[in-house]
């Protein structure tokens, strides 16, 4: 290393980052914080992979003719976009990065309950990625991320079996993480950290972990059955062997609907933290928000048939699933109303994380409410498999989960790395993301309502204006996402050194060093107050505001 590197004014204390620089200290680390950083780097890489597939999709759809890609290639591209983004970014994004880093710190523990299992989950995840990328390189898969049978099990010529094994293995990575969180939250809370003193981020991760534990094994088994049918012609889903393709959809959506809550619940936990910290107020109706996470987790298990209204499911079952789908909107709405009520009369401080949080509330509300449209049986017959569905889940997943991910990453960045990110750059990128996102996906609602089906690489000419708008928006959105990927690493070296608690926020994570020591706290913290115990009428301190 060069000897002219400037040293910061004060020599930093030993922390989890500078305690050891050897590569072995990273790849064999059982420190939950280091594992979180490894996940962050891996997931950032997967965002770039999945994002480049998205760019290809939007480029193809810029013109009505299918000119850029062959239809087979296009099928493979949107499948890879879905598989990579769903299994390698949306599902692990918040829990494996922010959750891994923060769950032990927020409850005052030294580490997760099973540090070695935590490391194992990372390597299992890595194996899943390698297999998926191998499947992509060896010819790819063209089934869509949903792997619907009998196409996937019988007719598709792609690397379905390999991709199935990859998804199966990746599932175990989330199961291990979920198991770790459940045991940690039950067993390792600091003295005084009662259940109703836990931050809502922890409640959200607890609910998410329960969903992971109860549903992921089902998709693992389902995907194994697809592979078995493909390789050995065991009759499960293919009618020619005596199977039933609709059974696949039941088993697949038993996991994959709850999976959207695996993606969004931790994001909602992040938003509760951000809204409270930057409004300087306790989250309005704290116990109700905590229980709404559990309610979403439980009710979310009984709505899966809303993906099957037009695929041969009985009308009676459709009605039952439709009614329960309306019910799951209640706890989601509770959260939205309570976040807004938290901001009311609070000292709202528009930092970058808060900009993302407010964007989340708007985008999630649009995404959630359009879900009600699709959960309505009659309307779904018109909108099924159109761009309306694509727009709906991108509003929930990208507008919701990804926005919350960026918000959380900025919020806890000073804690994770001890440096501040450039605040104005952050606000600019939040604005670009918000505008770019709406430009990309709002036209897709209109296109879908007009009947443009998803998963085709050409379309009638009269839809070009809206599609071009969407492609232009996607470009803007891409720039918005690339900006933090540049200035966040930049801030590691050039950012202002962060104090323990740059936001003046409540929570155990703000009482330890930035970045924390390997075991998080010098001595076991004792919790004596509720979560978010901001005094009545609290205001942000002027010196904290100059960030």
């Amino acid at each position: 290393m060069s000897s002219t590197v400037a040293t910061p004014a004060a020599e930093p204390r030993t922390n989890y980052l500078n305690v050891d620089y050897g590569w072995k200290s990273w790849v064999f680390s059982t420190d939950h914080k280091r594992i979180a950083i490894m996940y962050l780097i891996t997931i950032a890489f997967m965002i770039l992979v999945g994002g480049s597939f998205a760019i290809l999709v939007r480029l193809e759809l810029a013109t009505p003719a299918g000119d850029l890609l062959q239809s087979e290639t296009y099928n493979k591209i949107f499948t890879m976009h879905g598989v990579v983004m769903v299994f390698f970014f949306l599902i692990p994004g918040v829990p494996a990065v922010l959750g891994n880093f923060l769950v032990p710190i927020m409850i005052g523990a030294k580490d997760l309950a099973f540090p070695k299992i935590n490391l194992l989950s990372y390597y299992v995840f890595l194996v899943g990625i390698l297999l998926t990328l191998t499947a992509a390189a060896m010819g790819g898969i063209d089934t869509g991320w949903t792997f619907y049978t009998p196409y996937s099990s019988t007719y598709s010529n792609g690397q379905v079996a390999l991709a199935a094994v990859a998804v199966f293995i990746t599932g175990f990575s989330s199961i291990l993480t979920g198991l770790n969180f459940v045991v940690t939250i039950h067993k390792m809370r600091a003295p005084g950290m009662t259940w109703f003193r836990m931050p809502l981020f922890i409640w959200a991760h607890y609910a998410t972990s329960l969903i992971i534990l109860l549903s992921t094994p089902v998709v693992a088994i389902t995907i194994v059955l697809v592979a078995l049918e493909r390789l050995f012609h065991v009759g499960v889903f293919d009618p020619t062997y005596g199977g039933d393709p609709v059974l696949f959809q039941h088993m697949f959506w038993f996991y994959s609907h709850p999976a959207v809550y695996i993606m969004i619940l931790p994001a909602m936990g992040v938003i509760s933290e951000l809204i409270s910290a930057f409004s300087k107020k306790r989250v309005f109706g704290y116990p109700v928000v905590a229980f709404s996470s559990l309610a979403i987790a439980v009710i979310g298990f009984f709505v899966w048939g809303h993906h099957m209204f037009v695929t041969g499911q009985s009308t009676y079952a459709g009605v039952v699933f439709s009614v329960i789908t309306m019910l799951v909107a209640v706890p989601s709405a509770i959260k939205v109303f309570n976040w807004v009520s938290t901001m009311y009369k609070g000292d709202v401080w528009m930092t970058t994380p808060m900009c993302f949080a407010i964007a989340f509330i708007g985008l999630f509300t649009v995404g959630g409410l359009t879900g009600i449209f699709l959960g309505t049986m009659g309307l779904d017959i018109h909108m099924h498999d159109t761009y309306f569905v694509v727009a709906h889940f991108h509003y929930v997943m990208v507008g919701g989960m990804v926005t919350a991910f960026w918000g959380g990453l900025h919020f806890w960045w000073p804690k994770m790395f001890g440096r501040m990110y450039p605040e104005n750059m952050g606000r600019v990128s939040a604005a670009i993301i918000f505008i770019g996102f709406n430009m990309t996906f709002f036209p897709q609602f209109i296109l879908g309502y007009m009947g443009m089906p998803r998963r085709y690489h050409f379309y009638p000419e009269e839809w070009q204006v809206l599609n071009l708008l969407s492609t232009a928006g996607a470009t803007l959105l891409g720039i918005g996402y690339l900006l933090p990927m540049v200035y966040l690493p930049w801030s590691l070296k050039f950012g202002k050194v962060a104090s323990k608690n740059p936001w003046g926020a409540k929570g155990l994570e703000w009482e330890t060093d930035s970045p924390p020591t390997t075991f998080n706290f010098d001595k076991v913290p004792v919790v004596t107050e509720e979560a978010y115990a901001y005094p009545e009428g609290a205001r942000h301190q002027p010196e904290a505001k100059v960030v």
């Binding site: 039941h250 088993m251 038993f254 039952v320």
Partner: protein, 101 residues
């Protein structure tokens, strides 16, 4: 964490469970050759459930665990039951509407 005293199960119990499983397997084989009409599947399932229960309780030590662990173990089975129940509410109601006939 140190309050978890591992339960030591006498070997006798393990052999008894092993014997139960062997008898159960033999019973499954035996009933497979009998015709009980519509009871065929329920009978086979009942034997399988007893065998699985013995494994979970004794081999997997759930019998000596805390209430919380038992709840989690039971939760898995309750959720499996909901998967079956809500899937069957589709299959068993398909002929309620004339369109499916």
């Amino acid at each position: 964490m140190s309050s978890n005293h591992p339960h030591i199960t006498p070997l006798k119990t393990y052999f008894a469970v092993f014997a139960t499983l062997i008898v159960g397997t033999w019973l499954t084989y035996w009933v497979a050759y009998k015709d009980f009409g519509w009871l065929n599947t329920p009978v086979a399932m009942a034997i399988a459930i007893v065998k699985a229960g013995v494994v979970v309780l004794y081999f997997m030590h759930v019998k000596w665990q805390s209430k919380l662990t038992m709840m989690f173990a039971a939760g898995g089975f309750i959720w499996l039951f909901t998967l079956f129940a809500f899937t069957l509410q589709d299959y068993w109601t398909r002929d309620w509407m004339p369109i499916y006939k």
